[in-house]
């Protein structure tokens, strides 16, 4: 399937040095529309560094990034956001004291002008939030509910909704189920599946084989900062992927 769909983002031979340490060496990554790529690897394998290069937080020492086939140089995360790439952070970057809708639009709130003054357009925030949550089939009592009143799974859903509220093409999720109760994991995985159906490319970093095998179409393993192995999910097995993480083929 990935050969048919449009290529959204490609990283070509990305290398990153921190002083004398080589964190990434000639790493390649591709993500297509409607596809979910699982990225696995042991601690220190370079997963986080690679994601930070993709989001513009780190500048690669060598190599290049292609968004929609065009080479781009990212100066900051703002640049990658403008190109349609969003991160969902592991620590859930949400403000618990604010309602769901205001979290989703935090920093990008719609306003209405009254002369020279700009005021928040609460009705628009609520309408857009309801529509967006509906599209992703996220069930909450009300968009006005404060995030601190939500369960861990609902918070993760809000964080994902937030990342996709502005026409994101690629969403990177760092350990999306790590902080969740077991019964809520399924809901978040369902959400990732419905994201794929809307044509978003999803990159999931996870240690949980259950997650990888529930939502991903392709899995790639990093080992000591290099591409170690990659496969269509249907052509591999859990034991093989776990072996890759340990550096065994």
């Amino acid at each position: 399937m990935s050969s048919i769909n449009q290529l959204l983002l490609e990283a070509k031979s990305v290398t990153k040095y921190f002083g004398t340490i080589t964190a990434l060496e000639n790493v390649n990554l591709k993500i297509h529309a409607g596809e979910c790529l699982g990225v696995v690897g042991d601690n220190g394998a370079g997963k986080s560094t690679l994601m930070k290069v993709l989001s513009g937080l780190y500048k690669p020492s060598a190599g290049s990034l292609f968004f929609d086939g065009k080479e781009k140089i990212l100066e900051s995360p703002k640049d990658s956001q403008n190109l349609g790439l969003e991160m969902v952070y592991q620590d859930l970057a949400l403000a618990g004291n604010l309602p769901i809708g205001e979290n989703i639009f935090l920093g990008r709130e719609p306003t209405k002008n009254l002369g020279l003054l700009k005021f928040l357009d609460y009705k628009k925030i609520k309408d857009l939030t309801d529509a967006h949550l509906g599209k992703l089939k996220i069930n909450v009592k009300s968009a006005d509910q404060k995030v601190e009143e939500l369960s861990g799974g609902q918070r993760q859903a809000v964080a994902i909704a937030r990342s996709t509220a502005f026409n994101a093409k690629v969403v990177i999720m760092d350990e999306p189920t790590a902080a969740l109760a077991i019964k809520e994991v399924g809901k978040v995985l369902d959400l990732i599946n419905s994201l794929k159906q809307t044509g978003v490319g999803v990159i999931v970093i996870s240690h949980r084989m259950d997650d990888i095998f529930a939502v991903c179409d392709r899995v790639m393993a990093l080992f000591q900062g290099t591409n170690f192995a990659e496969s269509e999910l249907s052509k591999t097995s859990r034991d093989e992927v776990i072996g890759w993480i340990m550096g065994k083929k």
Binding site: Q81, A93, A95, G96, L98, L106, F119, L120, S151
Partner: protein, 337 residues
């Protein structure tokens, strides 16, 4: 069992927002009613009510400034000193014979610049906590105020300068008696509080102030320039202290070295009583107003009943602890763990 719990929960969700928003007003109303029954002839008289508003006029400005700072999970200990320094600068400029419109804007500018100094210090010097920066400026600003004035009071301002703190709006055209006037400071409190209510609730900057208090990392990840917002908040806090200085100049007709001594603690107390959380992100402008009123009415009522000011200290302290304990209980019930 499950059903019952859910019913309880949904009832809770319905009541909580109102209790959170207006619970403190309820307390205020209860206090007013109690005071009225204790002092039926005096407490709700025109004279006494306007008196309460005159007494809280400058404190209400400091409390509003400190409130915004507390919402960002910060603290400003220097508001009393900012007010004193602004007042001294006003007095010196007035004595130098500057026209009234210059005299009137000097404390506002001075207060703003003091707040800007706090904000830049906290962000640029990367102070571990605003407590430290503003503790430093608490001494610096008051010391500067004494240096420029020689530590002696400077008295005697023109009526224009005193208007905001001392002015009266005549209501005889409404058929009221001459003694039933409206203090200008009351109108000023209303206008300033309405403006800042709009600012905190209806603008993006106001929303970001709450977001920073809720989770600064979330604010940063959302592309909000956290340091810039903090500098704006501390500058506005200083500006409001400057307004406080202008009101105090009108009320006392004097710039004096002890002006606003320990008033930063009153301001913090009013915010806490009014439901602002020390951990940031929580509290309303209306709540701060109620907090200021509660402290003002308590002092006024106890004075009317000839209760010693030592008891007033004990009572205000107790109310702070009680108010925060109620907040703790509310948080236990209201949030999921």
């Amino acid at each position: 069992m499950e059903d019952k719990n859910q019913e309880k929960n949904s009832l809770y969700l319905k009541i909580m927002p109102y209790l959170e928003k207006y619970g403190i007003l309820l307390l205020l109303v209860i206090m007013i009613v109690v005071m009225h029954f204790l002092q039926p002839d005096v407490f709700l008289s025109w004279r006494n009510v306007t008196n309460v508003f005159k007494q809280i006029s400058w404190q209400s400005m400091l409390a509003l400034g400190v409130f915004m700072v507390i919402v960002t999970a910060g603290i400003d200990l220097s508001v009393g000193s900012i007010m004193m320094l602004s007042l001294m600068i006003l007095a010196i400029v007035a004595k130098a014979g500057a026209p009234w419109y210059i005299v009137v804007i000097t404390p506002l500018i001075a207060g703003f610049l003091c707040g800007l100094f706090n904000g830049l210090g906290i962000t640029l010097l990367r102070m571990p906590h605003p407590f430290i920066m503003t503790l430093g400026t608490l001494y610096i600003f008051r010391g500067t105020g004494n240096l420029i004035s020689g530590g002696t009071p400077i008295s005697g301002f023109t009526d224009e300068v005193r208007y905001l703190g001392h002015g009266r709006i005549d209501l005889t055209w409404l058929g009221l008696e001459k003694s039933q006037y409206l203090p200008v400071s009351l109108v000023l409190i209303a206008i300033v509080y309405i403006i800042f209510w709009i600012f905190m609730n209806k603008t993006r900057t106001g929303k970001w102030i709450y977001a920073i208090g809720g989770n600064p990392n979330a604010a940063r990840a959302s592309g909000i320039n956290v340091n810039k917002i903090l500098v704006i908040v501390y500058s506005l806090c200083g500006f409001l202290s400057g307004i406080g200085a202008l009101i105090l100049a009108g009320r006392t007709d004097s710039g004096y070295p002890n002006a606003g001594l320990q008033s930063e603690l009153d301001a913090i107390a009013a915010c806490i009583i009014g439901g602002a959380s020390f951990f940031g992100g929580r509290g309303t402008v209306l709540g701060v107003f109620a907090g200021v009123m509660i402290m003002g009415i308590l002092r006024n009522g106890l004075n009317l009943m000839d209760v010693s000011s030592f008891w007033q200290q004990v009572l205000i302290g107790s109310i702070i602890v009680l108010a925060v304990y109620i907040d703790v209980l509310r948080r236990d019930l209201g949030t999921r763990k």
